[in-house]
């Protein structure tokens, strides 16, 4: 490569740069730059042609100005001219400018591509390298399109210089990473793999990066590289340190190449060919042996290079997981590093050991280092190393050492860093549960955990304790005693109060025999914490109190007194007030038998995977856990929450739930009536309360009025009782009978819908969730009403933030006004840029005419009278169709209610038929609508048919509704 001689230095540029450096303030700098830009402009504009040198100088100045952060909007042409120069320095500057400043300006790109093409075919190695570097630096799609075919040819051609081959391999790698679909190896595959045999080590190093990347995508095609890699590796490993001359780095032969080879081998399973495998094992043994040899140099570079190879080798051994001998040796080697004075080495050793611990062959070997690791946890200075130590302890834990490890982790927790506390807490909770032989030990551990790090104990952890205590009779007494003692501490964490309230409420009777923990003492203890707690905890405590009344009738007056006082019964929080009122009534009206039934002990929870594990997974990495799992975890939490606070037993919930899947309007009525009409002992009020808690279990109920039913979580969609419809473009169908759900989902974006309607007005909330880790930019949404819909529906879109961060969700509100009857659905168009690529999709908004239904109750007589009034043929629409789903009465009822009409019972003489009535509210008019659905349930499954008849005062409405509904059953 021609060196830049002194005469080639650009004095003007040097002066300019030193001027800029000497500027005293930002303003001075800007002034100087403006002056220079004006000068360059006048030079470029000037009539006489510039020579190569001055062109290069000015382009260089422009580049420097650009790198200082100023916009450059000219000079591209001059830079492109430089490309065709024959002087290396001028060409170099031209390429530099282009790789830094290129934009997809079509005319320029064509010129640049042309110049690159010339250079690639010039056979001058330096020019070829420059061109390849430029392609790699820009790496745009246009470049890939133009050159993806050319470069592999250069790479494998016999007469290409080594340095060019190196550049070509790396350039191809870059293009493959940016646009894999354009780089097709096909016929070149075997010749690329054979580059591993190249004489020139540089070429091998460059090629192996390419091969590793390619074989990760399609391992089958590149399978042949394994044996070649092994032989190459064995040649390097067995060579004396002087054999490789230029590629020996501080007495280590070709460390980079070795590491890359080992990494390539990690893409494949152990070789099947015995000879190859034997050779590889030999290599790995040699590497492990070499680690034992005394270092040849005291320099840090030597040990770094050696260790790099060693750690890659260990990673490969772990990846194969089939050679017990090697695994144990690796473990021992790492054990030595655990006490090394180099912090980085200790970190790496702990990290590798973590994976070793999961292998059956080396688990025992890892366990021998437990003392060292515990010591590391206590004494390490660096928090990241401590974190790894904690991970390793978690990984090496089993039944034999669980008690020791949990105790150590607990004691460490008191001094642990805040950043890792929550994770530690989860780990302790999981270990304690997983390896608990003795459940009193488990209870002790978790209570200790809450005491030490209460703030970091998530809901899941204490739910789990309660689940376990309730499911195991043998620990209940012990648990009650322990929490009672724990609560006596003057300051205890709110989570402790929650656990305490729950357990004493359930099992307080088991320790009531002791005069030190008599019922009244228990109650007073709990109540002393009451005022320091948040609302949900107070609600839980109130439930515990009512349970006390059941368990210990002697506490009844005291507790009633508490419930009756103004701070409870007139509490500003609706939930607390309701509980106080209901419990007070319940305790004063219900007989002891009823009380005992209602407030029976909780039935055992069904066994399921620990919710804590899900939580830990979630914490570990958003990439590792799919959204599905996340939601599951959340839901589980929600269910548990409901279960944790519900006062009645779960069978009651099931029953009431099944019998009345009533829409929220009914529920609301019931709710407001409940306190007054609480005369029938418990059923009424209990039902209401159950409903408010059982949000997740009653999806149909939680539909419209989330504001009121505050405890119903918004993610009720996924549990729709109907079997999921096949993915059809007619998304509307999915939303005919429900208002909330996932409208659309692909690998980038999830769109959720929540909507509510009142008369002729509707409000829809769209939730756009970014499922990637990259932000979306220019995120815009528009709603269009095609054709005549424009005059029928008034849709207003609130603007949405144009930037959606990775993993974030944004909300958009859409207001809808129904002007008159309509049949089409408005179109929602979403545009955004994801990683530069424009995404554009159009969906139908789930708005159908039935959303504006108002239910109408009427008697049988009225119904048939109106039915007859609407007897003209155009007022009726009828359809007979096959059932798509099983004929379940309850499901059908729920769907018809979801439609928005009133379901009229005992109207039709045939009890199997369903009859509904409703009025569609639009701004212009009101359209009455009657519906009759006649199933013939007697037919064979699969042959079941429905007859759907709709009559409406407006003919289009009946027809449209008929179409919509026919898809639903």
């Amino acid at each position: 490569m021609p060196a830049v001689s002194k005469g080639d230095g650009m004095r003007g540029l040097a002066v300019f740069i030193s001027d800029i450096r000497n500027c005293k303030s930002k303003e001075a700098e800007i002034k100087r730059i403006n002056k220079e830009l004006a000068n360059i402009r006048s030079k470029f504009k000037g009539d006489k042609a510039l020579d190569g040198y001055s062109k290069k100088k000015y382009v260089c100045k422009l580049l420097f100005i650009f790198l200082l952060g100023h916009d450059i909007d000219f000079g591209h042409m001059e830079a492109v001219n430089l490309l065709s120069s024959n002087k290396y320095t001028e060409k170099q500057i031209g390429y530099l400018f282009i790789s830094v400043l290129v934009n997809s300006n079509s005319e320029l790109i064509r010129l640049i591509n042309n110049a690159i093409k010339n250079d690639l075919s010039s056979r001058n190695p330096t020019f070829m390298c420059l061109a390849l570097h430029c392609i790699a630096n820009v790496g745009s799609r246009e470049m890939a399109e133009a050159f993806a075919g050319e470069i592999p040819r250069i790479l494998v051609a016999g007469d290409t210089m080594d340095s060019v081959k190196q550049s070509a391999a790396l350039c191809l790698l870059r293009l493959y990473r940016t646009s894999p679909d354009l780089v097709l190896m096909g016929e070149w595959t075997s010749r690329v793999v054979h580059l591993l045999n190249d004489q020139h080590m540089g070429v091998v190093t460059a090629a192996i990066s390419l091969i590793t990347c390619l074989s990760q995508k399609n391992p089958e095609e590149f399978k042949t590289c394994v044996s070649l890699a092994v032989s190459r590796l064995s040649r390097i490993v067995s060579s004396a340190s002087t054999d490789l001359q230029d590629y020996t780095y501080y007495f280590v032969p070709a460390p980079w190449l070795s590491c890359k080879l080992l990494r390539l081998l990690q893409c494949y399973p152990p070789p099947e060919d015995g000879a190859v495998k034997g050779r590889l094992v030999e290599c790995l043994e040699t590497i492990l042996n070499k680690a034992q040899e005394p270092p040849k140099s005291k320099k840090v570079q030597h040990s770094n290079a050696k260790n790099a190879i060693l750690f890659e080798a260990i990673a490969l051994i772990i990846h194969y997981d089939s050679e017990p001998n090697l695994l144990v040796r690796a473990c021992n080697q790492l054990g030595q590093f655990l006490q090394h004075r180099e912090t980085n080495l200790r970190y790496l050793a702990l990290e590798s050991m973590c994976t070793l611990a999961s292998s059956e062959f080396s688990h025992e070997a890892v366990k021998t280092h437990i003392e060292t690791v515990i010591n590391a946890l206590k004494t390490e200075r660096d928090v990241s190393v401590r974190q790894r130590a904690a991970d390793l302890l978690y990984a090496m834990c089993d039944r034999s050492n669980a008690k020791q490890i949990v105790a150590e982790m607990l004691s460490y927790l008191e001094t642990a860093d805040y950043s890792i506390r929550e994770e530690m807490v989860l780990k302790v909770a999981i270990l304690a549960e997983k390896y608990a032989v003795d459940y009193s030990w488990y209870v002790d551990t978790i209570l200790n955990l809450i005491r030490i790090a209460g703030d970091y104990v998530s809901e899941e952890v204490w739910y789990r304790v309660i689940q376990i205590v309730i499911n195991r009779d043998d620990v209940q007494g012990y648990a009650a005693k322990t929490v009672f003692e724990a609560l006596q501490a003057p300051a205890c964490h709110e989570n402790m109060v929650k656990v305490g309230g729950y357990i004493l409420g359930e099992f307080g009777n088991l320790i009531a025999g002791d005069p030190r923990s008599s019922p009244l003492v228990q109650f007073n203890l709990l109540h002393s914490k009451f005022h320091l707690c948040s609302v949900p905890t107070r609600a839980l405590l109130l439930s515990a109190y009512i349970k006390f009344i059941n368990l210990f009738p002697e506490t009844k007056p005291t507790i009633q007194e508490v419930l009756r006082c103004d701070s409870q019964i007139r509490n500003s929080d609706v939930e607390l007030q309701q509980r106080a009122v209901e419990y007070l009534k319940l305790s004063s009206i219900a007989s002891t038998d009823v009380l005992a039934t209602v407030l029976e002990e909780m039935p055992p929870f069904p066994e399921r995977e620990s919710s804590i594990l899900a939580k830990l997974k979630k914490k570990k990495g958003p990439g590792a856990v799919s959204g599905n799992e996340l939601e599951e975890g959340k839901r589980e939490g929600g269910e548990l929450n409901g279960a944790g606070e519900r006062p009645g037993d779960s069978s009651a919930i099931g029953a009431s739930n099944a019998s009345t899947p009533s829409p929220s309007a009914d529920l609301l009525g019931l709710r407001s009536a409940a306190p007054v009409s609480a005369a029938p002992p418990s059923a009424g009020s209990l039902l209401v309360d159950v409903f408010s808690e059982a949000g997740p279990a009653a999806p149909a109920a939680g539909a419209n009025d989330d504001g009121f039913l505050s405890s119903a979580p918004p993610s009720v969609v996924s549990e729709d009782p109907a079997p999921p419809l096949p993915e059809s473009d007619e998304l509307l169908n999915k939303f005919v009978c429900k208002n909330n759900g996932v409208l659309f989902e692909n690998q980038l974006l999830q769109i959720g819908v929540k909507s509510e309607y009142r008369q002729n007005l509707g409000r829809m909330y769209l939730f756009y969730g970014n499922k990637t880790s990259v932000q979306f930019v220019n995120f815009t949404t528009t709603v269009s009403c095609p054709g005549e819909l424009q005059s029928q529906l008034n849709v207003q879109l609130k603007p949405v933030d144009p930037l959606v961060e990775g993993g974030a969700q944004v909300q958009q509100v859409i207001n809808i006004e129904c002007l008159t009857v309509f049949s089409d659905a408005p179109l929602l168009n979403i545009k955004f840029r994801y990683g530069g690529a424009l995404q554009n999709l159009t969906l139908k908004l789930p708005v159908a005419i039935n959303k504006f239904f108002q239910p109408t109750e009427m008697s049988s007589h009225d119904f048939f009278q109106r039915w007859k009034q609407l007897s003209q043929p155009q007022q009726e629409a009828q359809k007979i169709f096959k059932a798509n789903h099983a004929m379940d009465t309850e499901v059908l009822k729920a769907k018809l209610l979801g439609l928005g009409t009133a379901l009229l019972e005992k109207v039709d003489p045939n009890p199997d038929n369903f009859v509904c009535a409703g009025v569609i509210q639009t701004k212009a008019q009101q359209v009455g609508c009657l519906l009759r659905l006649e199933p013939n349930a007697q037919a064979q499954p699969g042959e079941q048919m429905y007859r759907l008849t709709l009559r409406s005062s407006k003919d289009t409405v009946a027809k449209r509704l008929c179409e919509l509904l026919a898809e639903q059953f």
């Binding site: 930002k26 403006n34 004006a38 000068n39 402009r41 006048s42 504009k45 934009n103 805040y418």
Partner: protein, 452 residues
């Protein structure tokens, strides 16, 4: 409550640092637990935060108030020096800026221009001043005259007990701005009406916004404790008098009086008297001070009119013609006239022809600057320029920034006139007639722009 005050040079090095309250930038006080949850930029203390986020910010910071990690930084810049007041509390921002300006005035009164060199040379003095004018972050006496009696730049002269007690009684007393026993052989008064006129005009000559902000600055050399009364052609006063007095005068005085939108006074003015009878009476401080500040928006005399004419000839050429007309009495002379005509960012060459003054293309400022030393009223002058452009890839159109202008005229564009300034001193035997009074009007341009 200002938490601290820092003075930086252009490199962001701290020249003066005075912390009044512990809540800013002390690591220890942030609390260990909080400390980790803060972004890294505010883990460093407040001093560094300002340097990183404002002085060395990638994008030029234009807001004078910056909020970094729940700490507010108020800054003003004097040439290359940054003054920053820092606080954690929700303070009155206007108060802080008033204080900063006052601080600049005080420093200028002590050692002249505020420059890095001067600050370094006088740092002891500055700390002394800061101790005196701020207590626990609350501004105290910032009157230069009063400060100069006890903070001096010379060595400390042995002050007698009487002198000391006199200073104490003055600083803590009712009239903190004037000491007793001042004697002058000649009683003199200088009164300057300084106005700056701001204008934004459309290319067609329509006034889009215009206002005048003015100051009345006085220099008084009067003996004893005189009582002064200042009168001007304030519309409210004139109208009141007009009603009480001769009716035929009303039309004339209506034209001559001005409507003041808002005004502020020096602390020596008796506000109660102003509120009740709208008369401005006061006991003046000794030396130079600013008596009042005001703003008017109605009936402004615009001293100059700029008529721009820009024509784009193809993609590579631009023709500009600008005419300025002076619009005041021919006997008056405007001075230091400067017209700044912005040029597009892709200008590659400029030819200028002007009848009067000098014009030059300044590439570093992307503008043609046309300077005229003097110009009488009711005249007009013209410049024409040909600008060559370099075609660029950029599709953005040139935004055409407005043409701005600077000048100085010897009258008050708001129309304000000083009617009288009376001095009463009952104890000493000089009367209003014995005082020599000087009045001067100066009108300057503020932001005086015409769109083109």
């Amino acid at each position: 409550m200002i938490g601290g005050l820092f003075i930086y040079n252009h490199k962001g090095e701290v020249l003066i640092s005075r912390v009044y309250r512990d809540d800013i930038g002390k690591r220890a006080l942030l609390g260990f637990r909080f400390f980790h949850s803060l972004p890294p930029s505010c883990r460093r203390n407040a001093v560094d935060a300002f340097r990183v986020n404002v002085i060395h910010a990638r994008q030029q910071v234009r807001s004078p108030v910056t909020n970094i990690a729940r700490t507010s930084f108020f800054h003003v810049k004097r040439s290359n020096i940054w003054l920053a007041a820092v606080t954690k509390q929700n303070v009155n921002a206007a108060m802080v800026f008033e204080f900063l300006y006052k601080m600049c005035d005080v420093m200028a009164a002590y050692f002249g221009k505020i420059s890095e060199e001067n600050i370094k040379n006088n740092f002891v003095l500055i700390y002394e001043l800061l101790d005196e004018i701020l207590d626990f972050g609350y501004p105290q006496n910032s009157e230069t005259g009063a400060l100069k009696t006890f903070i001096t730049q010379q060595g400390i002269k042995g002050q007698t007990k009487e002198e000391q007690s006199q200073i104490t009684s003055q600083v803590t007393g009712q009239i903190g701005w004037r000491r007793e026993g001042i004697k002058y052989r000649r009683n003199e008064l200088f009164l300057d009406v300084l106005e700056s006129v701001n204008l934004l005009m459309s290319p067609q000559g329509q006034v889009l916004s215009a206002h005048v902000s003015g100051r009345v600055v006085m220099k008084s050399y009067l003996s004893g404790m005189p009582e002064c009364k200042f009168g001007m052609n304030d519309k409210i006063v004139i109208d009141k008098q007009g009603k009480g007095g001769a009716g035929d005068d009303a039309g004339k005085s209506g034209k001559q009086s001005i409507a003041i939108d808002d005004c502020t006074f020096h602390q020596c003015v008796r506000l109660s008297k102003f509120d009740s009878e709208r008369s401005i009476s006061f006991i003046p401080p000794d030396g130079e001070y600013e008596l009042m500040r005001y703003r008017t928006t109605k009936d402004i005399i615009l001293p100059f009119r700029v008529i721009p004419l820009v024509r784009e000839v193809g993609r590579t050429k631009l023709e500009v013609k600008v005419v300025i007309k002076s619009n005041f009495k021919p006997s008056l002379l405007a001075q230091k006239i400067e017209v700044r005509i912005p040029t597009p960012l892709n200008t590659s060459g400029v030819q200028v022809i002007c009848m009067k003054g000098k014009a030059k293309y300044k590439a570093s400022e992307n503008a043609i600057v046309w300077k005229i030393k003097r110009m009488a009223g009711m005249k007009e002058s013209q410049i024409s320029a040909e600008i060559e452009l370099l075609p660029t890839n950029d599709k953005k159109k040139w935004a055409r920034p407005p043409i701005s202008m600077n000048f100085e005229v010897p009258f008050a564009p708001s129309g304000l006139k000083v009617r009288y300034l009376k001095v009463f001193e009952s104890k000493l035997n000089y009367s209003d007639h014995d005082v020599i009074k000087w009045v001067r009007y100066i009108g300057r341009s503020g932001i005086y722009e015409t769109r083109c």
